[in-house]
Structure formats: structure tokens, C-alpha cells
């Protein structure tokens, strides 16, 4: 495809999201298969935000029939479909949103029976999603998926409260796309080619034009060199006094014999930029804490024939860092825009990109040696170079996500953080459900039943807790949860649905950083908290 050839229909349709995760991310999404258990409001809202961007395929497991109440909450049913298979109807309506997506459903046996029979192949899925699945079934499923190492996302809505819990054995974040990055310019550990380039520039020999267009990065480096020479240092200015000394030298360099009074009154944009960017340029270059952790990880240190390629590349990066990198990662290669002329900027970009290319080549060679050593080198090598490039560029932000398995969360019962109290409250409602086969407050018409349910709920709480007195906050939460009676409010399901879908896209594309590992959404205050349970 030539540079100017027009995009095809799919590229136009997905244009707005391709700008976020690229063609390679889109390919990963289109090859992915997910399983949704529970085609309720929440479940269908999750799938909607996966189907629209072009998910490969989904399978819905739900044995329920469409009810009238579904029509007052779920967008993917219709009053004319009451008493029909909810799995089938929602599957139809969802695939209508995007005919490129392949949807299937299982409406018998129920998920409980499927798990009992233990013949269903969950390994065909990249990810399994549960939407408001009762606790007992969930425990069995979660255990099963943990053994299979298949990521599980547990989504819930309950009145104005929503939760998302990730159960992931091991996930690699390859392209984190951090929002705010400090560019990798290394003034304290300058590239040799950069040093040489700066050394070829002498302030006294510059013409007025050259001085006006000197890149701020060069200005800062030369000022740094001068400061180091003058004060007999080989590091960066850090104290207030040292920074003032630095700025004085910078100020001195901003003068030029050819400047007239007119020029003096105008401020020099490039020198202003130099001053302004001091905080982000004059910083110590070092290894990010995340990459250091990865280097120390067992999986990196103990490579085997079965190890994921991720760890092989981490190990290759480690070797680079310990040798040619002299303690630093491969150069990222990006140079932020700065006020200067074309040639100077292009020259700087060349310098950094050349170094990045060289570093990447070395990492690639280490990788090939390692793969050879462990008999993993194959004909898939053609893509290795590109893969190594991505890892090198994102080295500082590579991450591994390992969550705990879902366990009985009774030990959280006495935590007092507000939002965690809601999560615990939901857990108590689950215990109530196991006991009475309905949720507290589910029955609307009976006021007396409400009071009885609330009492029972409080009893359950007391039984689980080691404390004698229930806080006012806790009492309020239990009363409010009773009020909800497990109501599925559409707007709350839409919130959790959107969030879940994006977490799933993160897991599929290995781009952006997933939640680690529990999100609690409070729709009353419009607030979220994240807990690592």
C-alpha cells in the first residue's frame, strides 16, 4: 500500500480507534475470542463495547429466558421476545451491531451443569467474563480458570454500586502508552555522537542566525559541561544554589556580539525554552523500578524451553543493560520538538535514532543467542526484529501483572475504607443469597420483609465480623444495599460495561495498563477506588 493510497472500508470504520491501538492492536482484537457468562444488562453492555470495535468472536452462556423486567433494563432484548432464550436473543441483537463479529450462544445446559459435567473447553477463549454470577458458581469457575491460566473478569452491578475484579495468572504489558513521559535524552549520560556534535559547536564562532536557532537541548548540554568544568563536578546541579549557578551560565550564553538593543529587549525563544525545560532535561537517567523488578523476576532469571518469549526479551534487555548499556536501557530514540531550524532538529533526531537502532540490534542479537540456546529459534524469526523494536522503545514501561486468585473474601470483613465497605457489603449479600436463594430486599411489595431481610443481613455481618459493634457507616451501607434489592440500573451497568470492555481490550492487545486488581465504583458520589486484593 503506497503512502497516499486511500484507506479501505474497515480502516475508515475503525479509524478513530486505530489511532489508539494501531493496526497490530486491531489485529489482536479481531483474532480474540471471549466468553460471557450472564447475558443480563451488565453482560450485554460489556459485550457491546467489544463488538463495536470489532472483537473476533464471543460465546454467551445463559440458560435464562427473557423476562418483562429484562425489558426495563437490558438494551439487547425486546418485549416481543419475552419467554424466549435470553442467550439467543441477546446474541442476535449484539451481532447486529457489527456483522464482522462472530457470535454464538449456549442456553443449555446452565453454567452450573456445564461446570459439573466438566467437558466444556474454556481454553478456546482468551478471556472469560462473568456478569453478576452468584458466588457459589463463580468460585468453581474461577478455580477452574486459574488452573487453566485463562484470565477472568468478574463484573457486578448492584443498585448504584459496581465492581470489577481481575483474576489474571500472568499478563504482559508491552505498550503502556504512559500519559506523561520524560523524554530519554540522557544529558547526564550523553550519547557519544551527541557529545561530539555539541563539542563541534562553539558559542564564540556562531553567527547570529545560528545562535538564534541553536536547539535548547544543545544549549542545556553545553551549559552543563561549563557548569561541571567550572565547579569540578561530573553530575547534575541539584541544590537551589547549584541551579542558580547553572542558570547564570545559561544567561551568559544567551548573549551574542551581533545582538543589538532591539534583540536584547526581545527574549530569545530557544534560550527561554532551555530554561523552561530544565526540570525535564536535567534529570538523572536510570533504570525504571518496573524494569528492575522484571530483571529480578524468577521467570527472567530461569529461562527454560517453555518460557514465554516476553521473558526471553527481558533477559536480552538485561544482558544489554549489564554490558553495552553500561547500566542503562536501550535509547528510546525519540526527540521532542524544539524551537530550532530544520537541519539542527533533523540532526538531533538522527543522532538519537541511530543510537536506538544500534542498541536494538544488540538486544536482538542477545535474543537470538538465547533462543538458540534454549532451542526456541524457528522460522518465526522474521517478526523478531520488529518485536524487539517495540520492546526496546517501551522498555522503561514494560510490566507484568499477576493477580491473586479469587478466594473467600471473609478476611476483608473488618476493613473500614469506605468503598471497600461496599465491596464487603456485596459479599454479605452473596452469603444471604446462598442462604435464602434470593437477595436481601429483592421483594418490593412487602415492607415487613424488607425489615426482616435487613436484620438477617446485619446478623450475617455480625457473624463474620470480629467486632462487637457495627459502625454507622456499615449500617448505612447494609440498609442501602437492601434498598437496592440487587436492582440492575442500566446507567450503572453501562459504566461498568464500558470500563470492563476496555480492560479486556488492554488484556487482548497488551497495550495500556490494566487495573490491579479490583475496582469499586460508587455511583452515588461518582467515585472509583482501586484495591489490590
Amino acid at each position: 500500500m503506497s503512502k497516499s493510497s486511500a484507506p479501505d472500508k474497515k480502516q475508515i470504520q475503525y479509524d478513530r480507534q486505530l489511532r489508539l491501538w494501531g493496526d497490530h492492536g486491531q489485529n489482536a482484537l479481531e483474532s480474540a475470542r471471549v466468553c460471557l457468562i450472564g447475558a443480563n444488562t451488565l453482560g450485554t453492555e460489556i459485550l457491546k463495547a467489544l463488538v463495536l470495535p470489532g472483537l473476533g468472536s464471543f460465546t454467551i452462556i445463559d440458560h435464562q429466558l427473557v423476562t418483562l423486567a429484562d425489558c426495563g433494563s437490558n438494551f439487547f432484548v425486546h418485549p416481543s421476545k419475552i419467554d424466549e432464550s435470553r442467550a439467543r436473543i441477546t446474541c442476535e441483537f449484539l451481532t447486529q451491531l457489527n456483522p464482522d463479529v462472530h457470535g454464538t450462544y449456549i442456553d443449555k445446559p446452565s453454567i452450573d451443569d456445564l461446570l459439573k459435567q466438566n467437558t466444556f473447553n474454556f481454553s478456546q477463549f482468551n478471556i472469560v467474563i462473568t456478569a453478576n454470577l452468584p458466588m457459589q458458581t463463580l468460585s468453581i469457575l474461577a478455580n477452574h480458570l486459574w488452573t487453566l491460566k485463562i484470565p477472568l473478569i468478574i463484573a457486578r452491578t448492584y443498585g448504584f454500586i459496581g465492581t470489577i475484579r481481575l483474576q489474571v495468572f500472568e499478563h504482559y504489558v508491552i505498550e503502556a502508552h504512559p500519559d506523561d513521559t520524560i523524554p530519554d535524552l540522557r544529558l547526564d549520560r550523553p550519547l557519544i555522537t551527541f557529545s561530539n556534535y555539541c563539542n563541534s559547536i562553539h558559542f564564540d564562532c556562531l553567527t547570529r542566525e545560528e545562535h538564534l536557532h541553536l536547539p535548547s537541548l544543545v544549549i542545556l548540554f553545553k551549559t552543563l559541561q561549563q557548569w561541571q568544568k567550572q565547579y569540578n563536578r561530573n553530575d547534575l546541579p541539584c541544590t537551589r544554589i547549584e541551579k542558580d549557578e547553572f542558570k547564570k551560565i545559561l544567561e551568559k550564553f544567551s548573549h551574542h556580539s551581533a545582538y543589538d538593543i532591539h534583540d536584547h529587549n526581545k527574549s530569545l525563544e530557544n534560550f527561554d525554552e532551555a530554561k523552561r525545560t530544565i526540570p525535564s532535561r536535567l534529570i538523572k537517567t536510570n533504570l525504571s523500578s518496573t524494569i528492575k523488578e522484571l530483571f529480578q523476576d524468577q521467570s527472567c532469571l530461569e529461562l527454560t524451553n517453555q518460557t514465554e518469549i516476553f521473558w526471553f526479551i527481558i533477559h536480552a534487555l538485561k544482558l544489554f543493560t549489564e554490558n553495552e548499556g553500561q547500566g542503562l536501557l536501550p535509547v528510546r530514540g525519540e526527540v521532542p520538538d524544539m524551537i530550532t531550524n530544520t537541519n539542527s532538529y533533523v540532526k538531533l533526531v538522527e543522532i538519537y535514532q541511530e543510537q536506538a537502532k544500534k542498541d536494538c540490534e544488540i538486544v536482538h542479537n542477545y535474543l537470538c543467542d538465547l533462543l538458540k540456546k534454549y532451542n526456541r529459534l524457528s522460522n518465526h524469526n522474521l517478526n523478531l526484529h520488529h518485536l524487539v523494536q517495540i520492546y526496546c522503545k517501551n522498555a522503561s514501561f514494560l510490566k507484568v501483572l499477576r493477580t491473586t486468585a479469587i478466594k473467600n473474601e471473609d478476611d476483608l470483613i473488618d476493613k473500614t475504607e469506605s468503598d471497600l465497605s461496599w465491596y464487603i457489603g456485596l459479599h454479605l449479600c452473596d452469603i444471604f443469597y446462598e442462604k435464602f436463594h434470593r437477595y436481601p430486599g429483592e421483594c418490593l411489595l412487602d415492607e415487613k420483609q424488607f425489615d426482616i431481610d435487613l436484620d438477617d443481613l446485619k446478623q450475617i455481618s455480625k457473624q463474620q465480623s470480629s467486632k462487637n459493634i457495627m459502625s454507622n457507616n456499615k449500617q448505612d451501607i447494609l440498609e442501602e444495599l437492601c434498598r437496592y434489592g440487587a436492582s440492575e440500573l442500566h446507567s450503572i451497568a453501562a459504566f461498568i460495561g464500558g470500563c470492563c470492555a476496555q480492560e479486556i481490550i488492554k488484556l487482548i492487545t497488551h497495550q495500556y495498563v490494566p487495573v490491579d486488581n479490583t475496582l469499586i465504583y460508587n455511583g452515588i458520589q461518582q467515585a472509583t477506588s482501586v484495591f489490590k486484593l
Partner: protein
């Protein structure tokens, strides 16, 4: 589609909402009275949704499934292929049709008894008599100017009593949402009590603009090369005809720009230009996904439900959302500006020397009040006079001589009241001019 339902069917259908509406709880709004009547009250509340795009589609679905049955929706656009990754009420067969009309049809089909009235219009086509029909207005707009317009429209509809106190029943709550990639925000505006759009203009990301000398002489990035073609080469070469402006959706236009931007880039050793990149720069495309729109619209819809029912406390009152790294949400109340030119109900006073040029006055107005193309008029000696107008070539010509004149020469006196209109405002702003004589100005210093 109207499906005949009896009361008991409706009651069963909306059981999820009714548990909230018919029971009190510790987190309710102080005004809340649980009642079996609330459901029908919600059904008859008139809501206006502005925008039937990424947020609009989500809002319409959410509100319909939160019990609202009287919804109007405004959108002047037609459906494009690039909308379909998130504007889910539209299919490929709907490309070219009116967004508002197709959206309304889909919802009324899917959720019978929900009544949606579409308007294929600009918001400026309607006046206060239209907007005053609605109890709550929700916006899913993609332009700051449009937000400022509706904001000022609602403020112009506020009423004050004899003591100049705001009459609360004249407030129409404005709920506003916006998204950009994986980021979004939502807010509840109660004019007179919370900050308004105008109070918080600095919360909006600034427009991307490149300095002219970079474009003309020192290109460094591929975007500079594209800008050079669109702002310098195209006007010079007029490649598709005398008065043909750049159409970002026209494939041939973009291809021409790509070709010439690539040439400029190659001449300067710059790389990175392709079709997608170029179209992104030309149209100032903002990335968008279904998930963020779903989240932000849901927050707005939840707050509409709370406002209509008082069932739970409102959020206070501006939320920022971001799911790039984990999921992050922050809700806080931005400060209401005491001297906000829109919502503070005090006239604007500007002090200038009578010998200042009118151009200076205009520059000050534009900068201070973020105006786009002001229209300035006043009354001098009982006659209405247009001092400045740029909307037509004729009026531009007619008012140009005023720019070089001093305020005194224009006939303005101390205490003169000027009316300033602007695309970002639904009604003119009153500016009271304090003119100092040149003697006063110099001694005052």
C-alpha cells in the same frame, strides 16, 4: 411503536427502578419522598439531548432505559462510516441519513412507549421558547463553541426577583459530557450555584496551532509539512478549483495533500507522512472508542435520573475519567467565578483611555472573554450604530475604518453601554465603558 400496556405490566417492567424510587435509603437527597408515583413522574419529564453522536447515542439508550419517555434530540449531522465504531444506533445502511432521525427511530423501536422527537438542526436554530420546555438538558457535543452557546442560552433564561435574587425554579440543569480517546469528563451545572462552562474555559484543552515561522521556514515534524500544504500551498495553487476549500473527507483532497506534504518532508529529511496521519492533522481528528463514550454518557444519565427523582445525592459536580493506566476518576467542584461574564449576573465594565484605538478595545475583548468573531453595537444619540462586524464581506468593509479610530472619535462617551454578540454566545453581553481622558490616564499612573 406503542405497545399497549397496563399499569401492572409497566410496574413489572420497571421493577429495577422502582426499588430505588419507592424506598428511601441513607444516601438519598434530602428532597426525596419515596413514592409509587415517581415512575410516572419520570416518564413524563421532558429531557433534551444535544448531539446524537458518540455520546448522544449512549445517552439516548441510557435515559430510555432509566424510565424517561419524553426525549427530544438535536443533531445537524448525517451519518458517516467512521462513526460506526461507536455510534451504535446506526448501521452501514444508514450512512448519509440524519443522525437524530435514525437514532430516534432505533430507540422507539427497541424500547416501545419511549417517545423520541428528533430535530435535524443546529442548536442556534432554536430560541428560549424551545429550550424552556425542558426540565433537564444533557449535552454530548464535540465543540467548545456550541457548549458556550447553550450555556449562555440557559443563563439568559434565568429569572431574578425584585431583590435581584435568582429564582431557583428558573434554573434548567445542564449536564455536559465530553470525551477524547481514553479520557472524559462529565459535569452537572446549576447556573447561579455551580461553576458554568464559561467560568471554567481553562479546563478545555487548547486548540492545536503551529507558529507561522515554523510552518514557513523551519519545519521539523511531519505535521508542520501538512500544515504548510494546507495553509500555504493549497491557497496558492487552488488545485481543485478557484473557490474550492479543503474537504477533509474528500479522498482526492487528502491524497493531494499527502503527495505534496511528502515532497516537502523529503526535502527536509522528515519522515512519517501517510494518509491516516495527514487526514488526522487536516481534520484535527480526535481518537474515539465506544468504551469511553459509554462511561461518560452513563455518568450523565445517572445524574439526570438523580435530578429527576432526588432518589440519591447528586455528584458534586465535575468528574474527570481516565482509563489509560488502571481506571482513575476524580470528582470535585470547580470554582464558580464571581465575575464570570455569563453566569455572575453583573455587567462587564471596561476602563480605557478615550484616545485608545478601537482595535485595542476589540483585541482586549477578544482576549479577555475568549471571543471568536464579535459583533459590537451601541446607541449613540438615540441611534443604533454597528461598530464592528465581520460576518459578511460588506459589513467587514463598512466597519473596518472604525478600527483605526479612537474611542472618542467613534462617539463613545464615559458610561456608554455596548452590546457584544459572538458565535460563542446565545445573547449579547452588556459592556459598560469607563472612558478616562488622556490627562486622567497619565496622572493615574
Amino acid at each position: 411503536m406503542v405497545v399497549p400496556t397496563d399499569d401492572s405490566t409497566t410496574k413489572k417492567q420497571w421493577i429495577h427502578l422502582r426499588r430505588i424510587l419507592e424506598r428511601a435509603g441513607p444516601f438519598k437527597d434530602p428532597n426525596f419522598e419515596p413514592s409509587t408515583e415517581l415512575l410516572s413522574a419520570i416518564e413524563s419529564v421532558k429531557i433534551l439531548i444535544i448531539g446524537a453522536g458518540g455520546l448522544g447515542c449512549e445517552l439516548l439508550k441510557d435515559l430510555a432505559l432509566m424510565g424517561f419517555c419524553q426525549i427530544d434530540i438535536i443533531d445537524m449531522d448525517t451519518i458517516d462510516l467512521a462513526n460506526l465504531n461507536r455510534q451504535f444506533l446506526f448501521t452501514k445502511a444508514d450512512i448519509g441519513k440524519s443522525k437524530a432521525e435514525v437514532a430516534a427511530k432505533f430507540i422507539m423501536n427497541r424500547i416501545p412507549n419511549c417517545n423520541v422527537t428528533p430535530h435535524m438542526n443546529k442548536i442556534q436554530d432554536f430560541d428560549a421558547s424551545f429550550y424552556s420546555e425542558f426540565r433537564i438538558i444533557v449535552c454530548g457535543l464535540d465543540s467548545v463553541v456550541a457548549r458556550r452557546w447553550i450555556n449562555s442560552m440557559l443563563v439568559s433564561m434565568l429569572q431574578y426577583d425584585e431583590d435581584n435574587q435568582l429564582i431557583p425554579s428558573s434554573i434548567i440543569p445542564l449536564i455536559d459530557g465530553g470525551t477524547e480517546g481514553f479520557k472524559g469528563n462529565a459535569r452537572v451545572i446549576m447556573h447561579g450555584f455551580t461553576s458554568c462552562i464559561e467560568c471554567t474555559l481553562d479546563l478545555f484543552p487548547p486548540q492545536v496551532n503551529f507558529p507561522q515561522c515554523t510552518i514557513a521556514n523551519n519545519p521539523r515534524l511531519p505535521e508542520h509539512c501538512v500544515e504548510w500544504v494546507t495553509s500555504i500551498l493549497w491557497p496558492k495553487e487552488k488545485p481543485f478549483g478557484q473557490d474550492i476549500k479543503i474537504d477533509g473527507d474528500n479522498v482526492e483532497h487528502i491524497q493531494w495533500i499527502v503527495e505534496h506534504a511528502t515532497k516537502r518532508a523529503n526535502d527536509h529529511n522528515i519522515t512519517g507522512i501517510n494518509f491516516r496521519f495527514t487526514q488526522g492533522v487536516v481534520k484535527r481528528i480526535i481518537p474515539a472508542v465506544a468504551s469511553t463514550n459509554a462511561v461518560i454518557a452513563s455518568i450523565c444519565a445517572t445524574e439526570v435520573f438523580k435530578l429527576a427523582s432526588s432518589s440519591v445525592m447528586l455528584m458534586n459536580n465535575y468528574t474527570m475519567f481516565n482509563d489509560i493506566e488502571g481506571i482513575y476518576m476524580l470528582t470535585y467542584p470547580p470554582e464558580k467565578k464571581e465575575d464570570c461574564p455569563i453566569c455572575s449576573n453583573v455587567p462587564i465594565r471596561i476602563q480605557m483611555s478615550e484616545t485608545s484605538k478601537f482595535q485595542e478595545f476589540i483585541d482586549l475583548l477578544i482576549e479577555k472573554y475568549h471571543l471568536i468573531a464579535p459583533l459590537i453595537y451601541t446607541e449613540i444619540n438615540g441611534n443604533s450604530k454597528t461598530l464592528y462586524m465581520t460576518s459578511t464581506e460588506q459589513m467587514s468593509e463598512a466597519t473596518r475604518p472604525h478600527l483605526k479610530m479612537t474611542l472618542q472619535e467613534l462617539g463613545l462617551t464615559n458610561g456608554a453601554e455596548l452590546l457584544v454578540g459572538d458565535p460563542a454566545r446565545a445573547s449579547s453581553m452588556r459592556v459598560i465603558l469607563t472612558l478616562t481622558s488622556s490627562m486622567e490616564t497619565s496622572t493615574a499612573k
